[in-house]
């Protein structure tokens, strides 16, 4: 079943002339990972914001679970789609468990507080990401990686079938980047969750592919999708050269356990006059 369908989406910020993106078309199905890849400022975050209902499209439509998102009541989107921000701007030092309970907002009345059931769901979510032991710590004192895993737990507590992640590993160290990626893979495989993720790292999409996941990658370039498909088909040296202006080599390793592992290795940046299809 198709969880999210974006049809001919175009967006311009109000009172500005420049199109942020246009003619965007894609679908995310059940248990699928969809990766948005593209250079800084290509409009990935704005596209995610439009899907989340923060901005309205000029043209086209966004359908969530078969319904047009335009007809959603305020807050209804949160029943279908959860969101993990790139980086949470700290406000007050709430405890970790309270942060995760906020994922239950959509199930909590305006004038009531989270129930015992909500607390159980929050604990369950913390267990899944392995952050249960930190539940009484102030969120503001966590490391970047721990904080990101807690934000994923908050999205899980929301019990949606699709989670949108905006560059979830952007500020993380080597280990925590891996930990977040592993967690995403585990969730998709075990719970049939769907993931829409913006990322800066082409190798993230190869990681998903190497793990045998149904993954689609879309290259965003010049305000639209240049190409989309399986990482192996799309992330060619030529495409990477064109959208990032980086010369790279695609390396393939044979694993002892069988199967082929792919990684893109960047070599150098390209100057404007260089031919990108060299």
């Amino acid at each position: 079943m198709c969880l999210l369908e974006v049809i001919d989406a175009c967006f311009t910020y109000p009172q500005q002339k420049e199109r942020i993106f246009s003619d965007i078309d894609f679908k995310v199905g059940r248990g699928e990972v969809f990766c948005l890849l593209g250079p800084n400022g290509c409009g990935k975050t704005t596209l995610l914001d439009c899907i989340l209902g923060i901005h309205r499209l000029d043209q086209g439509s966004i359908r969530v679970a078969g319904e047009d998102a335009k007809d959603f009541r305020p807050g209804e989107m949160a029943r279908h789609v959860a969101y993990v921000p790139q980086r949470h701007d700290n406000s007050f030092p709430y405890t970790v468990i309270d942060m995760v309970k906020m994922g239950r907002t959509v199930y909590t009345g305006r004038f009531s507080s989270p129930s015992d059931l909500d607390k159980e769901k929050a604990k369950e979510a913390l267990n899944i990401v392995g952050m249960m032991h930190l539940r009484h710590r102030p969120f503001t004192q966590l490391s970047g990686g721990e904080a990101q895993l807690v934000m994923i737990a908050r999205a899980l507590a929301q019990e949606t079938r699709l989670i949108i992640l905006d560059e979830p590993t952007a500020h993380l160290d080597f280990k925590h980047e891996m930990l977040v990626m592993e967690t995403i893979v585990r969730l998709v495989k075990e719970t049939g969750l769907s993931v829409l993720m913006a990322t800066h790292f082409p190798n993230h999409t190869f990681y998903f592919e190497n793990q045998d996941m149904p993954v689609t990658v879309a290259l965003m370039h010049d305000n639209t999708f240049l190409e989309s498909g399986r990482p192996t088909e799309v992330l060619t040296e030529a495409n990477v050269g064109r959208i990032y202006r980086v010369k790279s080599r695609l390396a393939e390793f044979e694993m002892e356990t069988g199967g082929i592992l792919r990684q893109l290795i960047p070599l150098s940046t390209l100057r404007t006059e260089d031919n990108m299809d060299e």
């Binding site: 109000p14 914001d49 989340l52 209902g53 923060i54 009541r73 305020p74 807050g75 209804e76 989107m77 949160a78 029943r79 789609v81 959860a82 969101y83 921000p85 949470h88 701007d89 406000s91 007050f92 030092p93 709430y94 405890t95 309270d98 906020m102 994922g103 907002t105 959509v106 909590t108 305006r110 004038f111 009531s112 507080s113 989270p114 102030p138 503001t140 908050r154 929301q158």
Partner: protein, 326 residues
């Protein structure tokens, strides 16, 4: 927690230039409640029942409302340095009162009404300025509040400038310094209505304030109806503050520092912080008012004392808790 303000109110019945004993207070109150019938001296009845009690009750209500609104606004604006006056409610009320003092020569009802109406007007204007593309981003609301506050501050200065320096000016100046000296049961009832509505609203929506403090984008993705929930918080806090300010005049500090002190004591979860701020704010203002009544022969305005007494306490607490996680 709910008991503390009651204790503060009872305590303040004893405090004053005219000493009364516990048994006298008991006799007066029980007689007034028709539980016993004891021949108490009229002076004691007037002093305890008609002067000290309504004043202490009003003090608790005003202090509680200022602090609870401050706590709610700090959560909404994601900033612990925000106070209950952030959207211009105090300067609006100040101008309204000053205007009424000039136009109606200090008629009490007119002063209350004008103060209350202009307090609401100021917040409404801030909200309208903060509205962009059908949304109200937090930063625009703050900016709206700053603009409206400064306009009303100028208007207050203007009313002072044109006021009669012997008849009206002292009234305006004293009003702006805040006082509970004229408190009576009518004040308690009249101002109690908006205060009660505001307090009920904030106590109800306290968990949502946590979610709102995640910032607009995250709150939206968590399923908050931003416009409605922000509107409820702003309206409730405004009713509570406007109700308080219109009977007490401008009392600074309480709406800023009491919530902050509570953050150090009970943490930042608004489910606890909101009621705690209200209780502590109520106690604080009642006790400060007691000090103001007895410390010198003539009363010292509340607005002066809140900071003078509160600041050393705040610094002491800051040192002791090392800022409570800030």
């Amino acid at each position: 927690m709910a008991l503390a303000p009651v204790l503060a109110i009872v305590l303040s019945l004893f405090i004053g230039r005219y000493p009364v004993s516990l048994s006298t207070i008991g006799q007066v109150i029980l007689t007034k409640l028709h539980l016993i019938n004891y021949p108490v001296a009229a002076v004691n009845t007037v002093l305890i029942w008609d002067i000290r009690l309504p004043r202490a009750i009003l003090g608790a209500m005003v202090g509680g409302c200022l602090a609870i609104s401050g706590a709610a606004f700090q959560g909404l604006f994601r900033n612990p340095l925000v106070s209950s006056g952030i959207l211009g409610v105090s300067s609006g009320a100040g101008f309204g009162a000053a205007l009424a003092i000039i136009l109606f020569h200090g008629n009490t009802s007119a002063t209350y009404l004008f103060a209350f109406a202009f307090a609401l007007l100021a917040v409404f204007l801030s909200y309208m300025i903060g509205q962009v593309y059908n949304t109200t981003p937090t930063i625009m609301l703050v900016l709206g509040g700053v603009i409206v506050s400064s306009v009303f501050s100028s208007l207050i200065s203007f009313t002072k400038y044109v006021a009669d320096p012997y008849q009206e000016l002292p009234g305006i100046v004293f009003w702006l310094m805040g006082s509970l000296a004229s408190a009576n049961y009518r004040d308690v009832l009249v101002a109690g209505v908006p205060m009660l509505i505001g307090v009920v609203g904030l106590m109800g929506i306290k968990w949502r304030i946590n979610v709102l403090s995640m910032g607009d984008k995250e709150a939206h993705t968590l399923g908050v109806n931003l416009k409605l929930d922000k509107g409820i918080v702003i309206l409730s806090a405004t009713l509570a503050t406007a109700g308080a300010v219109c009977v007490s005049g401008i009392i600074g500090w309480v709406g800023l520092i009491i919530p902050h002190i509570c953050r150090m004591l009970v943490g930042n979860d608004n489910r606890v912080l909101i009621p705690a701020s209200m209780a502590l704010g109520a106690c604080f203002l009642v006790l400060v008012d007691d000090v103001g009544r007895v410390i010198t022969g003539s009363e010292i305005p509340l607005g002066i004392l809140t900071a003078l007494i509160g600041a050393p306490f705040f610094v002491w607490l800051l040192k002791k808790t090392r800022g409570g996680g800030w």
